[in-house]
């Protein structure tokens, strides 16, 4: 099958992006519905692509940045569609679809590096760790996107200047609900990702926690989300503050995902996953 599946995925995601942007501008319901279906179709191709890659390699391939992006994009779309099913905030697709399309493009643009993959990555337990962490990231990404919408909408209501976005964005209550919902799903997943990783580290490296840059940054992100969730539940933090914290948390997560891999080194970095032949 070669690469055709990944191109089909990309095509579907870009198509969905077009439909959703059209929906955002023209506010026609059927465009949004088309976007959902196209994104769903893309997810099917995407899943098949990941299965075929996993089948060929014998394990979930996440050894390069490009490969990790592909799995992250899959988690994002899956999380979005799940969210949409339970909590339909239509405009969110206008940010999610292009983001997913760009991530898959990234996979195609980044040159695949070849080399022997470290045996540490070939374990089923590690696949489990990665999927949990990436699904958690995906849910928290949606909280971030919702947070951006919240800040835009809140600013318009506070300043009493109603621009282009006012009509097109949902109510503050809905956006805040999205924040909470994503947090209650994303935070446990992130936590489970950290725990499964640390158990695997104990098993392979002999210690639960190694103060690797990725581990430190993830811990910071986790603390931010923990504070947010705690304050939400006890004091009733919500609205702007919750949106801002979700955005901060997400920025740290991006630094974790991109920065730690590319610049900081450590055993979580992609450079360490491959040994040059």
């Amino acid at each position: 099958m070669g690469n055709s599946l990944i191109y089909l995925t990309l095509l579907a995601y870009f198509g969905a992006t077009g439909l959703w942007l059209g929906f955002f501008l023209a506010q026609r319901e059927n465009l949004c519905l088309g976007g959902v279906w196209l994104l769903g179709t893309g997810l099917v191709f995407h899943t098949l692509e990941l299965i075929s890659r996993t089948w060929a390699a014998g394990y979930l391939p996440v050894a390069t940045f490009g490969q990790a992006l592909l799995v992250s994009a899959w988690a994002l779309v899956a999380a979005f569609l799940f969210l949409y099913w339970r909590f339909p905030i239509k405009v969110l697709g206008a940010l999610t679809a292009p983001l997913a399309a760009l991530m898959v493009s990234g996979t195609l643009i980044l040159h695949p590096e070849h080399g022997a993959v470290s045996p540490m990555l070939q374990s089923l337990w590690l696949t489990f760790h990665i999927i949990l962490a990436l699904l958690g990231n995906a849910a928290l990404t949606l909280a971030f996107l919702g947070g951006i919408f919240y800040l835009v909408q809140e600013r318009q209501l506070k300043q009493k200047k109603f621009g282009f976005f006012y009509r097109r964005l949902p109510s503050l209550e809905q956006l805040d609900g999205l924040n909470y919902w994503c947090l209650t799903i994303g935070f446990p997943l992130l936590t489970a990702g950290i725990i499964s990783g640390s158990l695997y580290a104990q098993y392979t490296l002999g210690s639960f926690w190694n103060w690797d840059p990725k581990e430190i940054l993830t811990l910071i992100a986790w603390l931010i989300y923990a504070v947010l969730l705690h304050e939400r539940l006890t004091v009733g933090w919500r609205g702007r503050r919750a949106a801002l914290l979700a955005i901060c948390g997400f920025l740290v997560l991006v630094a974790t995902f991109v920065g730690a891999n590319l610049w900081f080194g450590g055993y979580h970095s992609f450079a360490s996953f491959l040994t040059q032949p």
């Binding site: 506070k158 009493k160 109603f162 006012y166 009509r167 503050l172 503050r241």
Partner: protein
């Protein structure tokens, strides 16, 4: 078939004249009975609102129909002919269709985009059908009108922007709370605008209404009217704990609530959003309240500005709506034109059937006794030959309507097949 519309509206006639004519239409049964008796008015709908009185009819003789309708209006003892002539407008065919679409889509309304007009026309149509005044053309036209009006509403933002202050407050509330269902509103003081706002809020599903008034008596009276509870003004800060929307309109010279008071309450109510609407002058609420997180304060000027901007937006949307109306008008006229060919198609088919039957009779007599099967075979043969022969002329009629000269091909076919033997060739246009 032609369409003729005659009427007057808020732009052409003063309210005194509109009132008189509206009074005429209140006797619906009499009016329809009177107008239906006229042969030149084949189908008929009349509607009147406080801003317009219009009669629409389908007719073969538009001049006669117009004269008849004008007579009918001027027949009234109250209206002077002179006054009427200045106010009445007439529209025919394309313009009549477009006018009706514009009226139903609320493009011709005093308040552009107001939603009531569609319901009023629906009701008028119901009355017309009750009195059996409509026929195939107006039935189709009115149903099309309803769908056009709905399409305009759906595809343009003409009704989306609140253009009165109390409704603007409700739409803001929706953007904050999503749904107003089950929310609690506190009305501080009372006044016409505040009461109107409460009506709107109730219409949107607000669950509980609390009235805080300086005099408890008046408060109780309002509470009874809105199905709410009355409290004294001193209890207001405590009531903030349960409230979601606060509408304030007292004559108090000082602020009733300050920023610090609201700030203290926010912590206790776990930062649930609060929406303040201050329609009092001088203001009842400290403007700094708006700086608090999850608190939104709008005063009368803010709301006026929202309404002002919304007016402009509505007029922008109306441009889009006009385009939709023009498009739908053309579609309807297309249908109306195809309608004109049906009598010709029918007489063509009748003529073919007549010939078949006559020839079949002749042949059967000559052939003598036949089996049932043979007889049927002959019937099928003649029938299918004639059908195939007229198939293409029918397609030609349906498809070849020249937009400028719609009757030309019709005329041609009628002459070609000699469908009007009594009339002189060329004079025949329609049945």
């Amino acid at each position: 078939m032609n369409l003729v519309l005659l009427g007057l509206n808020h732009k052409t006639a003063p309210v005194a004249l509109r009132e008189k004519l509206a009074g005429l239409v209140t006797d619906v049964a009499g009016t329809y009975a009177d107008l239906k008796a006229r042969p030149e008015l084949q189908e008929l709908v009349l509607y009147s609102t406080c801003n317009r009185v219009e009669v629409l009819c389908a007719t073969e003789t538009p001049e006669d129909a117009l004269r008849r309708l004008r007579d009918f209006f001027s027949h009234l003892p109250e209206a002077s002919l002179d006054e009427l002539d200045k106010s009445l407008y007439t529209h025919q065919d394309r313009d009549a269709v477009q006018h009706l679409f514009r009226v139903a889509a609320s493009l011709d309304s005093l308040v552009v985009g107001e939603p009531q007009i569609l319901g009023q026309i629906k009701e008028a149509y119901r009355q017309a059908t009750d009195h059996r005044a409509t026929g195939p053309i107006l039935n189709r036209l009115l149903h099309k009108t309803f769908s056009v009006a709905k399409r305009v509403r759906r595809e343009t933002g003409i009704g989306d922007y609140a253009v009165n202050i109390s409704y603007a407050a409700v739409t803001l509330g929706r953007k904050i709370f999503g749904s107003l269902a089950g929310k609690t509103a506190v009305l501080v003081g009372a006044g016409e605008m505040a009461e109107l706002a409460v009506e709107h809020l109730k219409g949107d599903g607000v669950g509980r209404i609390i009235i805080a008034n300086r005099t408890l008596e008046r408060g109780l009276e309002l509470a009874q009217r809105f199905g709410g509870e009355a409290v004294s003004l001193e209890e207001l800060p405590d009531q903030l704990l349960f409230a979601d929307i606060i509408i304030s309109s007292t004559g108090s010279p000082q602020y009733l609530l300050t920023r610090d008071q609201v700030k203290g309450v926010m912590r206790r109510r776990k930062h649930k959003p609060l929406f303040f609407i201050d329609i009092a002058v001088p203001r009842d609420l400290d403007p700094a309240i708006n700086d608090l997180d999850n608190v939104y304060l709008y005063n009368i000027d803010d709301l006026k500005e929202v309404v002002e901007i919304n007016w402009q937006r509505r007029h922008q949307e109306a441009v889009k709506a006009e385009r939709l109306v023009a498009e739908e008008t053309l579609k309807f006229l297309d249908w109306l034109e195809t309608l004109a060919v049906y009598p010709t198609i029918i007489s063509l088919k009748e003529k073919a059937d007549r010939i078949c039957e006559a020839e079949l009779d002749k042949t059967l007599k000559q052939l003598g006794p036949l089996t049932e099967e043979q007889r049927q075979a002959l019937e099928v043969l003649t029938h299918s030959i004639s059908q195939k022969l007229i198939h293409d002329p029918i397609l030609f009629l349906k498809g070849n309507q020249h937009p400028e000269r719609p009757t030309q091909s019709l005329d041609l076919v009628r002459r070609l097949f000699n469908l009007d033997p009594d009339r002189e060739a060329g004079a025949a246009e329609e049945e």
